[in-house]
């Protein structure tokens, strides 16, 4: 395993080898998979996204752990009912008689000049649905570890794979591999930057432009379940909160995280300044490079926001923090 993109494929292959109930339904499958695992367990699928999602669910309620793989996250819109209304709900609706241990692998694009219908970071659309789990790895290690954890999970997991990170090499981050834990990638005392998915490396890079121990970067890793304990602890320490989420801002995870932090009566008084969301601008993803680059969060925009946030603080809230 050398890169983020290869790590995902490797994780699926290792799970296929480890557990004979793991299956793969995908429009493209490495030749070595069919040779190793047979064409029943690894099955090429046509462009029938809704049917394929439902077939995965039918396998999942029959003792298998299928992985559905789509080369673009927006293809899942075609299968929306099966994702949010069927697999998300079968455990609950059946009173626990059935459950759906399956993974939907969704590659999302940003900055790839794929234009509107192939470009969307849609964490929140699924993160809002009870019954679904949503993970968004930001490192090659997590791409591997979270995929294996997702396959072993007993609930449906939407695995958001950042196309823009596909060539990221291995790093040295230690990680738990567990779904539902955020990871502090870099310690700092002045501002908490909570980043998710494709935006994590950008946040880390910008943080390195500031003095040591200034910017704390938290990799969210898992959006549902959400590790509020780690986020709250970080914001309590720094008193400043910045979210970096490539999604458009309305009803985004960045919004959800601000709410979750601000409504905590033990954190609200220690905030030194208003939280800030850094998201893609509230438009459909454009095609032309200067247009797309203008609406996505850039390193310079993140840095400018951090500088502004670090230079602002409310005196009355400083007092509150001291108490």
């Amino acid at each position: 395993m050398t890169t983020y993109g290869e790590a995902v494929t490797q994780a699926i292959e290792d799970e296929l080898r480890t557990d004979s109930t793991v299956a793969l339904l995908a429009p493209e499958i490495p030749v070595r998979f069919a040779e190793q695992f047979g064409s029943d367990r690894v099955r090429l699928t046509p462009a029938s996204e809704a049917a394929v999602a439902g077939i995965a669910l039918g396998m999942a309620v029959s003792g298998f752990r299928p992985v559905v793989s789509w080369s673009c996250a927006t293809f899942a819109f075609v299968a929306f009912d099966q994702l949010v209304n069927q697999m998300a709900k079968i455990r609950y609706l059946s009173g626990g008689q059935f459950h759906a241990p399956l993974v939907v692998r969704l590659r999302y694009f940003g900055g790839a000049r794929m234009a509107a219908q192939h470009t969307a970071t849609t964490f929140a659309m699924y993160g809002q649905v009870p019954g679904l789990k949503v993970v968004a790895p930001a490192t090659a290690e997590d791409a591997y570890g979270l995929m294996r954890a997702a396959i072993r999970d007993d609930d449906p997991v939407l695995f958001f794979e950042a196309d823009s990170l596909r060539d990221q090499p291995r790093t040295t981050h230690s990680l738990s591999g567990a779904i539902g834990k955020a990871l502090v990638l870099r310690e700092g005392s002045e501002v908490s930057v909570i980043a998710m998915g494709a935006m994590v490396p950008a946040a880390v890079e910008v943080a390195s432009r500031f003095e040591a121990d200034t910017v704390e970067v938290v990799d969210l890793r898992s959006l549902a379940p959400l590790d509020l304990a780690t986020i709250r602890a970080s914001v309590k320490k720094t008193g400043r909160l910045v979210l970096v989420d490539e999604s458009t801002p309305r009803c985004s995870f960045a919004s959800e995280l601000i709410t979750s932090v601000v409504e905590d009566a033990t954190i609200f008084p220690v905030l030194r300044t208003a939280p800030v969301r850094i998201c893609s601008q509230d438009v459909v993803a454009p095609y032309s490079p200067p247009l797309e680059d203008h609406v996505r969060p850039s390193l310079d925009r993140i840095e400018a926001v951090l500088q502004a946030v670090l230079s602002s603080s409310s005196p009355s809230q400083e007092q509150g923090r001291d108490r």
């Binding site: 439902g54 039918g58 069927q86």
Partner: protein, 327 residues
């Protein structure tokens, strides 16, 4: 017809009496559901299978207990015929603790894992790929279990019908598709659904869905084919003498009139024409009534669930994880 031996459209008197008892049980269950709905005891909508009893009964009579089914929003008959407990079903309709889904599903989401009912479904055609996936699981495991996927003629206008039919044919899935055509959604010309099925690569047969003996014979052939990886469709043409759903408006008793045939009365008449048949029919009537009486008593005596149980069953139990997906 009823004969001493069964095969090619014939059943023995004993089998016919069993089929009648199940159809009568379904009829009484639906009358009871409607009655409880009128009394305000069923909090949500209910879609009755009245008039379609022969389809589920005939199909399930040729299934094994380890075969599984996927149902629709109109699924009481499918569940009962597959062996689901009428008391736990009725308790679910009433939203009670002892319901199959602990009061979380209701009529449209009945599931009964103990008898292989993977689920009913509130979304038209959404169950088709789930049935196909369960069949793919059987195929991958090399078992000879099959899956029955029920749908109504209304599902044919959904894309999922076409996607799933194509895939189940291409992949040789051990599935039997049963279309209950009640002609309420479309006014399709005769044979349209059969042609669609065949164009997707699935041989199909039309039967009179008010004749349980015909349904059983067609289902038997389809099930045998499916066990060897050849999916089949049986289109059972039925009538639905009730409104679409019991929900808010007044619920009228079913009316069999004009060219519509009451499948329960039809089999009753056939039974009475055979020596000893009347006595068997009376015995079956009593047995069905007894099942439903017990079911009503059971359901009405079941308590409502603890409100806090609304927060359970959303995810696997993981220590420290709250409902809402937060740690």
């Amino acid at each position: 017809m009823i004969a001493d031996t069964w095969g090619s459209g014939q059943v023995s008197l004993g089998d016919a009496a069993d089929l009648y008892r199940m159809m009568k049980t379904i009829r009484l269950f639906e009358e009871t559901a409607a009655d409880l709905h009128r009394k305000g005891l069923v909090p949500g909508p209910v879609h009755l299978s009245t008039g379609q009893e022969a389809v589920a009964t005939g199909v399930s009579s040729v299934l094994r207990s380890d075969d599984r089914i996927v149902s629709t929003h109109r699924g009481h008959a499918h569940a009962l015929a597959k062996g689901a407990d009428a008391g736990r079903m009725l308790a679910e309709l009433l939203g009670r603790e002892d319901g199959y889904c602990k009061g979380k599903g209701g009529s449209m989401h009945l599931a009964a894992a103990d008898v292989g009912l993977i689920g009913s479904n509130g979304i038209v055609a959404a169950g088709l790929p789930i049935a196909a996936g369960a069949a793919l699981a059987n195929r991958t495991r090399r078992t000879d279990q099959i899956v029955v996927g029920y749908f109504g003629d209304g599902a044919v206008s959904e894309g999922l019908f076409h996607e799933t039919f194509t895939l189940s044919a291409e992949w040789g899935l051990p599935v039997v598709w049963i279309c209950e055509t009640n002609r309420r959604t479309h006014d399709e010309h005769d044979g349209a659904i059969i042609k669609l099925s065949e164009s997707h690569g699935i041989p199909a047969e039309v039967v009179d869905g008010t004749d349980v003996i015909q349904v059983r014979a067609a289902a038997d052939g389809a099930v045998q084919a499916a066990r060897t990886g050849k999916p089949r469709l049986v289109e059972a043409r039925t009538i639905r003498p009730t409104s679409h759903a019991l929900w808010r408006g007044p619920s009228l008793p079913p009316s069999f009139s004009g060219d519509s045939v009451d499948p329960v009365a039809r089999l009753s008449t056939q039974l009475e024409a055979v020596a000893g048949g009347t006595e068997l029919r009376e015995r079956a009537d009593a047995a069905a009534a007894s099942v439903i009486d017990d079911a009503v008593r059971f359901a009405l005596s079941s308590p409502f669930p603890d409100p806090e149980s609304a927060l359970e069953d959303i995810y696997a139990r993981v220590p420290g994880m709250y409902p809402g997906g937060q740690l």
